[in-house]
Symmetry: C2
Subunit: 285 residues, 2 copies
Amino acid sequence: MSDVIVIGGGPAGISAAIYLKRFKLDVCVLMKDFGALDKTEHIENFYGFSQPITGHELVENGLKQAKRLGVEIKFEEVLGIDAEDLFTVKTVQNEYKSKAVLLATGSSRASFRIPGFVDFVGKGISYCAICDGFLYRKKAIALLGEGEFMAEELDVLRNFSSDLTVFTNGLPLKAKIGETKVISDTIRSLEGGETLQTIVTENGRYDVKALFVAVGTPSATDFALRMGAFIEKNVIVVDENYQTNIPGLFAAGDCIGGLSQIAKAVSDGAQAAIALQKFIRSKTS
Amino acid sequence: MSDVIVIGGGPAGISAAIYLKRFKLDVCVLMKDFGALDKTEHIENFYGFSQPITGHELVENGLKQAKRLGVEIKFEEVLGIDAEDLFTVKTVQNEYKSKAVLLATGSSRASFRIPGFVDFVGKGISYCAICDGFLYRKKAIALLGEGEFMAEELDVLRNFSSDLTVFTNGLPLKAKIGETKVISDTIRSLEGGETLQTIVTENGRYDVKALFVAVGTPSATDFALRMGAFIEKNVIVVDENYQTNIPGLFAAGDCIGGLSQIAKAVSDGAQAAIALQKFIRSKTS
Protein backbone atom coordinates (compact mmCIF):
# COMPACT_ATOMS: atom_id res chain seq x y z
CA MET A 1 0.00 0.00 0.00
CA SER A 2 1.19 3.52 -0.77
CA ASP A 3 0.65 6.69 1.19
CA VAL A 4 -0.18 8.53 -2.02
CA ILE A 5 -0.93 7.35 -5.54
CA VAL A 6 -0.30 10.07 -8.09
CA ILE A 7 -2.17 9.61 -11.36
CA GLY A 8 -0.30 11.33 -14.16
CA GLY A 9 3.43 11.65 -14.83
CA GLY A 10 3.62 15.19 -16.20
CA PRO A 11 4.86 18.35 -14.46
CA ALA A 12 2.12 18.51 -11.80
CA GLY A 13 2.22 14.82 -10.88
CA ILE A 14 6.00 14.46 -10.83
CA SER A 15 6.56 17.76 -9.03
CA ALA A 16 4.17 16.48 -6.34
CA ALA A 17 5.80 13.03 -6.25
CA ILE A 18 9.25 14.58 -5.74
CA TYR A 19 8.03 16.64 -2.80
CA LEU A 20 6.11 13.68 -1.32
CA LYS A 21 9.17 11.46 -1.54
CA ARG A 22 11.28 14.08 0.16
CA PHE A 23 8.68 14.13 2.93
CA LYS A 24 9.58 10.42 3.26
CA LEU A 25 6.15 9.30 2.13
CA ASP A 26 5.55 6.18 0.09
CA VAL A 27 4.46 7.45 -3.30
CA CYS A 28 3.60 5.64 -6.51
CA VAL A 29 3.01 7.36 -9.86
CA LEU A 30 0.71 5.69 -12.37
CA MET A 31 0.90 7.07 -15.87
CA LYS A 32 -0.45 6.04 -19.23
CA ASP A 33 2.00 7.92 -21.41
CA PHE A 34 3.89 11.20 -21.76
CA GLY A 35 0.62 13.12 -22.16
CA ALA A 36 0.00 16.35 -23.99
CA LEU A 37 3.59 17.59 -23.58
CA ASP A 38 4.87 14.71 -25.71
CA LYS A 39 3.79 16.63 -28.79
CA THR A 40 5.28 19.96 -27.70
CA GLU A 41 8.38 20.62 -29.77
CA HIS A 42 9.69 23.80 -28.31
CA ILE A 43 9.39 24.96 -24.71
CA GLU A 44 11.17 28.19 -23.93
CA ASN A 45 8.96 29.83 -21.35
CA PHE A 46 9.45 27.43 -18.46
CA TYR A 47 12.07 28.88 -16.16
CA GLY A 48 15.50 27.39 -15.75
CA PHE A 49 16.51 26.14 -19.18
CA SER A 50 19.02 28.24 -21.08
CA GLN A 51 18.12 26.45 -24.32
CA PRO A 52 14.67 25.43 -25.61
CA ILE A 53 13.64 21.93 -24.60
CA THR A 54 11.07 19.56 -26.09
CA GLY A 55 8.09 18.40 -24.09
CA HIS A 56 9.35 14.83 -24.35
CA GLU A 57 12.75 15.79 -22.92
CA LEU A 58 11.15 17.72 -20.08
CA VAL A 59 8.86 14.84 -19.09
CA GLU A 60 11.79 12.43 -19.36
CA ASN A 61 13.94 14.69 -17.17
CA GLY A 62 11.14 14.78 -14.63
CA LEU A 63 10.82 11.00 -14.57
CA LYS A 64 14.58 10.59 -14.13
CA GLN A 65 14.54 13.19 -11.36
CA ALA A 66 11.75 11.37 -9.54
CA LYS A 67 13.29 7.92 -10.00
CA ARG A 68 16.65 9.15 -8.75
CA LEU A 69 14.90 10.17 -5.52
CA GLY A 70 13.24 6.76 -5.26
CA VAL A 71 9.75 7.46 -6.60
CA GLU A 72 8.08 4.36 -8.03
CA ILE A 73 6.69 4.96 -11.52
CA LYS A 74 4.47 2.49 -13.36
CA PHE A 75 3.26 2.84 -16.93
CA GLU A 76 -0.27 1.57 -16.37
CA GLU A 77 -3.52 3.05 -17.57
CA VAL A 78 -5.91 3.78 -14.73
CA LEU A 79 -9.51 2.73 -15.32
CA GLY A 80 -11.20 3.65 -12.09
CA ILE A 81 -10.82 4.70 -8.48
CA ASP A 82 -12.87 3.60 -5.47
CA ALA A 83 -12.89 5.57 -2.25
CA GLU A 84 -13.72 3.74 0.96
CA ASP A 85 -11.50 3.70 4.04
CA LEU A 86 -8.64 3.50 1.60
CA PHE A 87 -8.51 4.33 -2.09
CA THR A 88 -8.40 1.49 -4.58
CA VAL A 89 -6.96 2.43 -7.95
CA LYS A 90 -7.74 -0.02 -10.71
CA THR A 91 -5.48 -0.13 -13.76
CA VAL A 92 -5.73 -2.32 -16.84
CA GLN A 93 -3.28 -4.73 -15.17
CA ASN A 94 -3.58 -4.33 -11.39
CA GLU A 95 -5.23 -2.84 -8.34
CA TYR A 96 -3.40 -0.56 -5.92
CA LYS A 97 -4.35 0.78 -2.51
CA SER A 98 -3.41 4.10 -0.95
CA LYS A 99 -4.35 6.55 1.78
CA ALA A 100 -4.71 9.41 -0.66
CA VAL A 101 -4.86 10.03 -4.39
CA LEU A 102 -3.60 12.97 -6.41
CA LEU A 103 -5.22 13.46 -9.81
CA ALA A 104 -2.77 15.11 -12.18
CA THR A 105 -3.70 13.82 -15.59
CA GLY A 106 -3.67 17.12 -17.41
CA SER A 107 -6.50 18.83 -19.15
CA SER A 108 -9.62 16.86 -19.35
CA ARG A 109 -11.95 15.38 -21.86
CA ALA A 110 -11.88 16.22 -25.53
CA SER A 111 -14.88 17.93 -26.99
CA PHE A 112 -16.51 16.48 -30.07
CA ARG A 113 -17.19 18.28 -33.27
CA ILE A 114 -20.35 16.32 -33.89
CA PRO A 115 -23.16 18.73 -34.84
CA GLY A 116 -25.72 18.76 -32.05
CA PHE A 117 -23.35 17.31 -29.45
CA VAL A 118 -23.02 20.39 -27.29
CA ASP A 119 -26.81 20.98 -27.30
CA PHE A 120 -27.59 17.65 -25.70
CA VAL A 121 -24.96 17.51 -22.94
CA GLY A 122 -27.06 16.99 -19.82
CA LYS A 123 -30.09 16.40 -22.06
CA GLY A 124 -29.42 12.80 -22.97
CA ILE A 125 -25.64 13.00 -23.19
CA SER A 126 -23.81 11.96 -20.02
CA TYR A 127 -20.17 11.49 -19.06
CA CYS A 128 -20.84 9.12 -16.16
CA ALA A 129 -22.71 5.81 -16.14
CA ILE A 130 -22.63 5.51 -12.36
CA CYS A 131 -24.07 9.01 -12.02
CA ASP A 132 -26.81 8.91 -14.65
CA GLY A 133 -27.34 5.28 -15.73
CA PHE A 134 -30.35 4.86 -13.46
CA LEU A 135 -32.19 7.67 -15.28
CA TYR A 136 -32.35 5.53 -18.43
CA ARG A 137 -33.22 2.10 -17.02
CA LYS A 138 -34.79 -0.23 -19.57
CA LYS A 139 -34.31 2.44 -22.25
CA ALA A 140 -32.27 2.41 -25.47
CA ILE A 141 -28.81 3.53 -24.41
CA ALA A 142 -25.87 4.33 -26.67
CA LEU A 143 -22.27 4.36 -25.50
CA LEU A 144 -19.57 6.30 -27.32
CA GLY A 145 -16.07 4.86 -27.04
CA GLU A 146 -13.71 2.14 -28.19
CA GLY A 147 -11.36 1.03 -25.38
CA GLU A 148 -11.17 -0.25 -21.81
CA PHE A 149 -12.75 2.89 -20.44
CA MET A 150 -15.83 2.33 -22.60
CA ALA A 151 -15.92 -1.35 -21.53
CA GLU A 152 -15.92 -0.28 -17.87
CA GLU A 153 -18.84 2.06 -18.48
CA LEU A 154 -20.63 -0.63 -20.45
CA ASP A 155 -20.42 -2.97 -17.45
CA VAL A 156 -22.09 -0.33 -15.31
CA LEU A 157 -24.82 0.31 -17.88
CA ARG A 158 -25.68 -3.41 -18.10
CA ASN A 159 -27.21 -2.97 -14.64
CA PHE A 160 -29.77 -0.55 -16.03
CA SER A 161 -30.67 -1.73 -19.53
CA SER A 162 -30.16 -4.55 -21.98
CA ASP A 163 -30.81 -2.30 -24.98
CA LEU A 164 -27.22 -1.15 -25.36
CA THR A 165 -25.33 -0.07 -28.48
CA VAL A 166 -21.67 0.89 -28.66
CA PHE A 167 -20.67 3.58 -31.19
CA THR A 168 -16.94 3.69 -31.92
CA ASN A 169 -17.33 6.75 -34.19
CA GLY A 170 -15.02 5.35 -36.85
CA LEU A 171 -12.34 4.04 -34.46
CA PRO A 172 -11.39 0.37 -34.25
CA LEU A 173 -12.88 -1.41 -31.24
CA LYS A 174 -10.05 -2.12 -28.79
CA ALA A 175 -11.82 -3.73 -25.83
CA LYS A 176 -13.57 -7.06 -25.42
CA ILE A 177 -17.20 -6.36 -24.68
CA GLY A 178 -18.98 -9.67 -25.16
CA GLU A 179 -22.19 -9.75 -27.17
CA THR A 180 -23.03 -6.13 -27.52
CA LYS A 181 -24.15 -4.42 -30.68
CA VAL A 182 -21.35 -2.26 -32.12
CA ILE A 183 -21.71 0.46 -34.74
CA SER A 184 -18.35 1.56 -36.08
CA ASP A 185 -19.67 4.16 -38.53
CA THR A 186 -18.66 7.77 -38.14
CA ILE A 187 -21.35 9.81 -36.38
CA ARG A 188 -22.66 12.61 -38.56
CA SER A 189 -24.96 14.41 -36.15
CA LEU A 190 -27.17 14.16 -33.12
CA GLU A 191 -30.84 15.07 -33.37
CA GLY A 192 -33.73 15.54 -30.99
CA GLY A 193 -36.02 18.07 -29.41
CA GLU A 194 -35.74 18.98 -25.75
CA THR A 195 -33.62 15.87 -25.35
CA LEU A 196 -31.51 13.62 -27.55
CA GLN A 197 -33.54 11.31 -29.80
CA THR A 198 -31.45 10.12 -32.74
CA ILE A 199 -27.84 9.33 -33.55
CA VAL A 200 -27.23 9.83 -37.26
CA THR A 201 -24.22 7.97 -38.68
CA GLU A 202 -22.88 7.82 -42.21
CA ASN A 203 -24.99 4.71 -42.84
CA GLY A 204 -27.97 4.85 -40.51
CA ARG A 205 -30.19 6.46 -37.91
CA TYR A 206 -30.47 5.11 -34.37
CA ASP A 207 -33.13 6.17 -31.89
CA VAL A 208 -31.82 6.36 -28.31
CA LYS A 209 -32.75 7.97 -25.02
CA ALA A 210 -29.19 8.48 -23.89
CA LEU A 211 -25.60 8.64 -25.12
CA PHE A 212 -22.85 7.93 -22.58
CA VAL A 213 -19.42 9.22 -23.53
CA ALA A 214 -16.33 7.16 -22.66
CA VAL A 215 -13.91 7.83 -25.49
CA GLY A 216 -10.22 6.96 -25.21
CA THR A 217 -8.97 6.94 -21.64
CA PRO A 218 -10.68 8.53 -18.66
CA SER A 219 -9.57 12.01 -17.71
CA ALA A 220 -9.12 13.29 -14.18
CA THR A 221 -12.52 14.88 -14.52
CA ASP A 222 -13.99 11.50 -15.41
CA PHE A 223 -12.51 9.89 -12.29
CA ALA A 224 -13.57 12.77 -10.09
CA LEU A 225 -17.11 12.76 -11.47
CA ARG A 226 -17.52 9.04 -10.76
CA MET A 227 -16.35 9.52 -7.19
CA GLY A 228 -18.81 12.33 -6.55
CA ALA A 229 -16.31 15.17 -6.61
CA PHE A 230 -17.53 18.60 -7.61
CA ILE A 231 -16.84 19.61 -11.19
CA GLU A 232 -17.44 23.11 -12.51
CA LYS A 233 -17.03 24.14 -16.14
CA ASN A 234 -15.26 20.86 -16.81
CA VAL A 235 -12.56 21.34 -14.18
CA ILE A 236 -12.23 19.69 -10.79
CA VAL A 237 -13.10 21.98 -7.90
CA VAL A 238 -10.44 21.98 -5.18
CA ASP A 239 -10.02 23.99 -2.00
CA GLU A 240 -6.96 26.04 -1.03
CA ASN A 241 -5.24 22.75 -0.12
CA TYR A 242 -5.86 21.24 -3.56
CA GLN A 243 -8.30 18.80 -1.97
CA THR A 244 -11.63 17.96 -3.61
CA ASN A 245 -14.82 17.54 -1.59
CA ILE A 246 -13.82 13.86 -1.22
CA PRO A 247 -11.40 13.63 1.74
CA GLY A 248 -8.04 12.35 0.54
CA LEU A 249 -8.76 13.01 -3.13
CA PHE A 250 -6.52 15.84 -4.31
CA ALA A 251 -6.01 17.33 -7.77
CA ALA A 252 -3.35 19.55 -9.35
CA GLY A 253 -2.32 20.96 -12.71
CA ASP A 254 -4.45 21.55 -15.77
CA CYS A 255 -7.30 19.38 -14.48
CA ILE A 256 -8.16 21.99 -11.84
CA GLY A 257 -8.25 24.82 -14.35
CA GLY A 258 -6.48 28.16 -14.24
CA LEU A 259 -3.43 28.90 -16.33
CA SER A 260 -2.51 25.95 -18.60
CA GLN A 261 1.20 26.41 -18.18
CA ILE A 262 4.00 24.14 -17.00
CA ALA A 263 5.01 26.73 -14.40
CA LYS A 264 1.58 26.64 -12.81
CA ALA A 265 1.35 22.83 -12.93
CA VAL A 266 4.74 22.45 -11.21
CA SER A 267 3.72 24.91 -8.51
CA ASP A 268 0.35 23.18 -8.05
CA GLY A 269 2.17 19.87 -7.62
CA ALA A 270 4.49 21.24 -4.95
CA GLN A 271 1.67 22.89 -3.04
CA ALA A 272 -0.60 19.85 -3.28
CA ALA A 273 2.23 17.67 -1.95
CA ILE A 274 2.60 19.87 1.10
CA ALA A 275 -1.13 19.60 1.78
CA LEU A 276 -1.08 15.84 1.11
CA GLN A 277 1.74 15.41 3.58
CA LYS A 278 -0.34 17.11 6.27
CA PHE A 279 -3.32 14.94 5.34
CA ILE A 280 -1.29 11.70 5.62
CA ARG A 281 0.29 12.78 8.92
CA SER A 282 -3.13 13.58 10.36
CA LYS A 283 -4.39 10.12 9.34
CA THR A 284 -1.47 8.27 10.88
CA SER A 285 -1.11 10.22 14.11
CA MET B 1 11.20 53.78 -21.51
CA SER B 2 10.17 50.20 -20.81
CA ASP B 3 6.70 48.71 -20.63
CA VAL B 4 7.70 46.83 -17.50
CA ILE B 5 10.69 47.06 -15.19
CA VAL B 6 11.21 43.85 -13.25
CA ILE B 7 13.20 44.26 -10.05
CA GLY B 8 14.93 41.00 -9.18
CA GLY B 9 16.60 38.41 -11.40
CA GLY B 10 15.61 35.20 -9.61
CA PRO B 11 12.96 32.63 -10.60
CA ALA B 12 9.93 34.91 -10.15
CA GLY B 13 11.42 37.93 -11.93
CA ILE B 14 12.96 36.04 -14.84
CA SER B 15 9.94 33.79 -15.32
CA ALA B 16 7.85 36.95 -15.60
CA ALA B 17 10.36 38.64 -17.91
CA ILE B 18 10.34 35.65 -20.27
CA TYR B 19 6.56 35.72 -20.52
CA LEU B 20 6.50 39.50 -20.93
CA LYS B 21 9.06 39.37 -23.73
CA ARG B 22 7.05 36.69 -25.50
CA PHE B 23 4.06 39.01 -25.25
CA LYS B 24 6.28 41.40 -27.25
CA LEU B 25 6.52 43.87 -24.40
CA ASP B 26 9.58 45.95 -23.71
CA VAL B 27 10.94 44.58 -20.46
CA CYS B 28 14.02 45.44 -18.44
CA VAL B 29 15.27 43.44 -15.45
CA LEU B 30 17.23 45.25 -12.75
CA MET B 31 19.07 43.01 -10.33
CA LYS B 32 21.64 43.53 -7.63
CA ASP B 33 23.05 40.00 -7.52
CA PHE B 34 22.09 36.34 -7.66
CA GLY B 35 20.10 36.66 -4.44
CA ALA B 36 19.33 33.99 -1.87
CA LEU B 37 19.63 31.12 -4.37
CA ASP B 38 23.30 31.89 -4.90
CA LYS B 39 24.07 30.11 -1.65
CA THR B 40 21.89 27.08 -2.37
CA GLU B 41 24.15 24.15 -3.18
CA HIS B 42 21.73 21.43 -4.05
CA ILE B 43 18.31 21.84 -5.66
CA GLU B 44 16.53 18.62 -6.43
CA ASN B 45 12.88 19.45 -5.86
CA PHE B 46 12.34 21.89 -8.72
CA TYR B 47 10.76 19.99 -11.59
CA GLY B 48 12.56 19.26 -14.81
CA PHE B 49 16.17 18.58 -13.85
CA SER B 50 17.27 14.95 -13.90
CA GLN B 51 20.34 15.82 -11.82
CA PRO B 52 20.62 18.18 -8.84
CA ILE B 53 21.52 21.72 -9.76
CA THR B 54 23.04 24.54 -7.72
CA GLY B 55 21.16 27.76 -7.12
CA HIS B 56 23.86 29.64 -8.97
CA GLU B 57 23.50 27.41 -12.03
CA LEU B 58 19.73 27.75 -11.99
CA VAL B 59 19.83 31.56 -11.81
CA GLU B 60 22.49 31.61 -14.53
CA ASN B 61 20.36 29.33 -16.74
CA GLY B 62 17.43 31.66 -16.20
CA LEU B 63 19.45 34.72 -17.16
CA LYS B 64 20.72 33.01 -20.32
CA GLN B 65 17.19 31.93 -21.16
CA ALA B 66 15.88 35.47 -20.78
CA LYS B 67 18.78 37.04 -22.70
CA ARG B 68 18.37 34.58 -25.55
CA LEU B 69 14.78 35.80 -25.89
CA GLY B 70 15.94 39.41 -25.89
CA VAL B 71 15.26 40.48 -22.32
CA GLU B 72 17.48 43.35 -21.19
CA ILE B 73 19.20 42.61 -17.88
CA LYS B 74 21.15 45.18 -15.90
CA PHE B 75 23.13 44.52 -12.74
CA GLU B 76 22.18 47.68 -10.90
CA GLU B 77 21.03 48.07 -7.33
CA VAL B 78 17.66 49.77 -7.07
CA LEU B 79 17.43 52.48 -4.42
CA GLY B 80 13.89 53.75 -4.86
CA ILE B 81 10.78 53.86 -7.00
CA ASP B 82 8.48 56.81 -7.67
CA ALA B 83 4.98 56.33 -8.99
CA GLU B 84 3.37 59.18 -10.90
CA ASP B 85 1.96 58.87 -14.41
CA LEU B 86 4.89 56.62 -15.08
CA PHE B 87 7.15 54.77 -12.68
CA THR B 88 10.68 56.09 -12.13
CA VAL B 89 13.10 53.51 -10.83
CA LYS B 90 16.27 54.97 -9.37
CA THR B 91 19.37 52.79 -9.20
CA VAL B 92 22.79 53.63 -7.82
CA GLN B 93 23.86 54.54 -11.39
CA ASN B 94 20.76 55.59 -13.34
CA GLU B 95 17.06 56.36 -13.51
CA TYR B 96 14.64 54.33 -15.62
CA LYS B 97 11.02 54.92 -16.56
CA SER B 98 8.30 52.35 -17.18
CA LYS B 99 4.54 51.91 -17.38
CA ALA B 100 4.55 49.19 -14.74
CA VAL B 101 6.88 47.65 -12.18
CA LEU B 102 7.12 44.07 -10.95
CA LEU B 103 8.74 43.61 -7.56
CA ALA B 104 10.41 40.21 -7.40
CA THR B 105 13.31 40.65 -5.05
CA GLY B 106 12.73 37.58 -2.94
CA SER B 107 12.00 37.39 0.73
CA SER B 108 12.15 40.63 2.50
CA ARG B 109 13.96 42.34 5.26
CA ALA B 110 16.20 40.54 7.70
CA SER B 111 15.20 40.53 11.32
CA PHE B 112 17.71 41.60 13.91
CA ARG B 113 18.77 39.62 16.90
CA ILE B 114 19.22 42.72 18.99
CA PRO B 115 17.48 42.23 22.36
CA GLY B 116 14.49 44.56 22.56
CA PHE B 117 14.29 45.08 18.79
CA VAL B 118 11.04 43.24 18.20
CA ASP B 119 9.35 44.98 21.15
CA PHE B 120 9.85 48.45 19.72
CA VAL B 121 8.85 47.92 16.10
CA GLY B 122 6.13 50.50 15.56
CA LYS B 123 7.01 51.99 18.97
CA GLY B 124 10.00 54.03 17.92
CA ILE B 125 11.42 51.63 15.35
CA SER B 126 10.36 52.35 11.77
CA TYR B 127 11.24 50.90 8.38
CA CYS B 128 10.26 53.98 6.38
CA ALA B 129 11.49 57.57 6.70
CA ILE B 130 8.93 58.93 4.25
CA CYS B 131 6.12 57.23 6.19
CA ASP B 132 7.12 58.08 9.75
CA GLY B 133 9.82 60.78 9.67
CA PHE B 134 7.31 63.54 10.37
CA LEU B 135 6.36 61.92 13.70
CA TYR B 136 9.85 62.64 15.05
CA ARG B 137 10.48 66.15 13.76
CA LYS B 138 13.14 68.03 15.72
CA LYS B 139 13.73 64.92 17.83
CA ALA B 140 16.83 62.74 18.29
CA ILE B 141 16.66 60.23 15.47
CA ALA B 142 18.89 57.19 14.93
CA LEU B 143 19.33 55.48 11.61
CA LEU B 144 20.51 51.87 11.34
CA GLY B 145 22.41 51.03 8.16
CA GLU B 146 25.67 51.37 6.31
CA GLY B 147 25.11 51.71 2.54
CA GLU B 148 23.31 53.67 -0.17
CA PHE B 149 19.91 52.65 1.13
CA MET B 150 20.71 54.20 4.52
CA ALA B 151 22.03 57.35 2.79
CA GLU B 152 18.72 57.70 0.90
CA GLU B 153 16.76 57.42 4.13
CA LEU B 154 19.14 59.88 5.80
CA ASP B 155 18.37 62.47 3.09
CA VAL B 156 14.67 62.10 3.84
CA LEU B 157 15.19 62.38 7.59
CA ARG B 158 17.21 65.61 7.21
CA ASN B 159 13.87 67.27 6.36
CA PHE B 160 12.56 66.48 9.82
CA SER B 161 15.47 66.81 12.24
CA SER B 162 19.09 67.85 12.47
CA ASP B 163 19.74 65.60 15.47
CA LEU B 164 20.64 62.53 13.45
CA THR B 165 22.99 59.64 14.28
CA VAL B 166 23.87 56.75 12.02
CA PHE B 167 24.51 53.36 13.65
CA THR B 168 26.33 50.88 11.40
CA ASN B 169 26.09 48.10 14.02
CA GLY B 170 29.67 46.99 13.50
CA LEU B 171 29.65 47.17 9.69
CA PRO B 172 31.98 49.47 7.73
CA LEU B 173 30.27 52.61 6.44
CA LYS B 174 29.91 52.28 2.66
CA ALA B 175 28.03 55.42 1.66
CA LYS B 176 29.04 59.08 1.64
CA ILE B 177 26.78 60.87 4.09
CA GLY B 178 28.38 64.27 4.64
CA GLU B 179 28.75 65.56 8.17
CA THR B 180 26.60 63.19 10.13
CA LYS B 181 27.53 61.54 13.41
CA VAL B 182 28.35 57.86 12.90
CA ILE B 183 28.54 55.20 15.60
CA SER B 184 30.12 52.01 14.31
CA ASP B 185 29.90 50.04 17.56
CA THR B 186 27.88 46.85 17.70
CA ILE B 187 24.46 47.41 19.24
CA ARG B 188 23.94 45.38 22.39
CA SER B 189 20.29 46.10 23.15
CA LEU B 190 17.42 48.54 22.84
CA GLU B 191 15.77 49.87 25.95
CA GLY B 192 12.70 51.92 26.75
CA GLY B 193 9.25 51.82 28.27
CA GLU B 194 6.16 52.14 26.11
CA THR B 195 8.44 53.39 23.36
CA LEU B 196 12.12 53.17 22.46
CA GLN B 197 14.36 55.37 24.60
CA THR B 198 17.95 54.15 24.49
CA ILE B 199 20.33 52.41 22.10
CA VAL B 200 22.97 50.52 24.07
CA THR B 201 26.17 49.75 22.16
CA GLU B 202 29.32 47.98 23.29
CA ASN B 203 30.82 51.35 24.24
CA GLY B 204 27.97 53.69 25.05
CA ARG B 205 24.31 54.57 25.59
CA TYR B 206 22.42 56.87 23.21
CA ASP B 207 19.04 58.37 23.98
CA VAL B 208 16.80 58.59 20.92
CA LYS B 209 13.12 58.96 20.10
CA ALA B 210 13.26 56.86 16.95
CA LEU B 211 15.36 54.29 15.13
CA PHE B 212 14.91 54.03 11.37
CA VAL B 213 16.10 50.78 9.84
CA ALA B 214 17.79 50.82 6.42
CA VAL B 215 20.33 48.03 6.57
CA GLY B 216 21.95 46.64 3.43
CA THR B 217 19.79 47.05 0.36
CA PRO B 218 16.08 47.77 0.29
CA SER B 219 13.79 44.76 -0.02
CA ALA B 220 10.63 44.63 -2.09
CA THR B 221 8.73 45.30 1.10
CA ASP B 222 10.80 48.44 1.66
CA PHE B 223 9.98 49.73 -1.84
CA ALA B 224 6.32 48.87 -1.49
CA LEU B 225 6.06 50.51 1.93
CA ARG B 226 7.55 53.77 0.64
CA MET B 227 5.07 53.83 -2.22
CA GLY B 228 2.10 53.34 0.06
CA ALA B 229 1.40 49.73 -0.86
CA PHE B 230 -0.29 47.52 1.70
CA ILE B 231 1.99 45.24 3.70
CA GLU B 232 0.73 42.54 6.01
CA LYS B 233 2.92 40.38 8.23
CA ASN B 234 5.94 41.64 6.34
CA VAL B 235 4.74 40.52 2.90
CA ILE B 236 3.32 42.64 0.10
CA VAL B 237 -0.44 42.31 -0.31
CA VAL B 238 -1.47 41.61 -3.92
CA ASP B 239 -4.80 40.82 -5.52
CA GLU B 240 -5.57 37.82 -7.72
CA ASN B 241 -3.72 39.60 -10.54
CA TYR B 242 -0.57 40.03 -8.47
CA GLN B 243 -1.20 43.78 -8.40
CA THR B 244 -0.73 45.82 -5.24
CA ASN B 245 -3.11 48.61 -4.25
CA ILE B 246 -0.90 50.93 -6.36
CA PRO B 247 -2.05 50.63 -10.00
CA GLY B 248 0.78 49.26 -12.12
CA LEU B 249 2.83 48.05 -9.18
CA PHE B 250 2.87 44.25 -9.21
CA ALA B 251 4.72 41.76 -7.03
CA ALA B 252 5.55 38.06 -7.31
CA GLY B 253 7.57 35.35 -5.60
CA ASP B 254 8.69 35.19 -2.00
CA CYS B 255 7.99 38.88 -1.36
CA ILE B 256 4.23 38.22 -1.53
CA GLY B 257 4.40 35.36 0.95
CA GLY B 258 3.06 31.84 0.60
CA LEU B 259 5.25 28.86 -0.13
CA SER B 260 8.95 29.87 -0.34
CA GLN B 261 9.71 27.49 -3.17
CA ILE B 262 11.18 27.97 -6.64
CA ALA B 263 8.14 26.24 -8.16
CA LYS B 264 5.78 28.77 -6.64
CA ALA B 265 7.98 31.75 -7.57
CA VAL B 266 8.18 30.61 -11.21
CA SER B 267 4.42 30.18 -11.35
CA ASP B 268 3.86 33.57 -9.69
CA GLY B 269 6.11 35.16 -12.31
CA ALA B 270 4.20 33.61 -15.21
CA GLN B 271 0.83 34.59 -13.78
CA ALA B 272 1.94 38.12 -12.91
CA ALA B 273 3.25 38.54 -16.47
CA ILE B 274 -0.13 37.62 -17.90
CA ALA B 275 -1.81 40.19 -15.68
CA LEU B 276 0.86 42.78 -16.48
CA GLN B 277 0.33 42.26 -20.18
CA LYS B 278 -3.38 43.02 -19.74
CA PHE B 279 -2.52 46.08 -17.67
CA ILE B 280 -0.12 47.44 -20.34
CA ARG B 281 -2.58 46.73 -23.17
CA SER B 282 -5.33 48.55 -21.28
CA LYS B 283 -3.05 51.56 -20.83
CA THR B 284 -2.05 51.77 -24.48
CA SER B 285 -5.42 51.07 -26.08
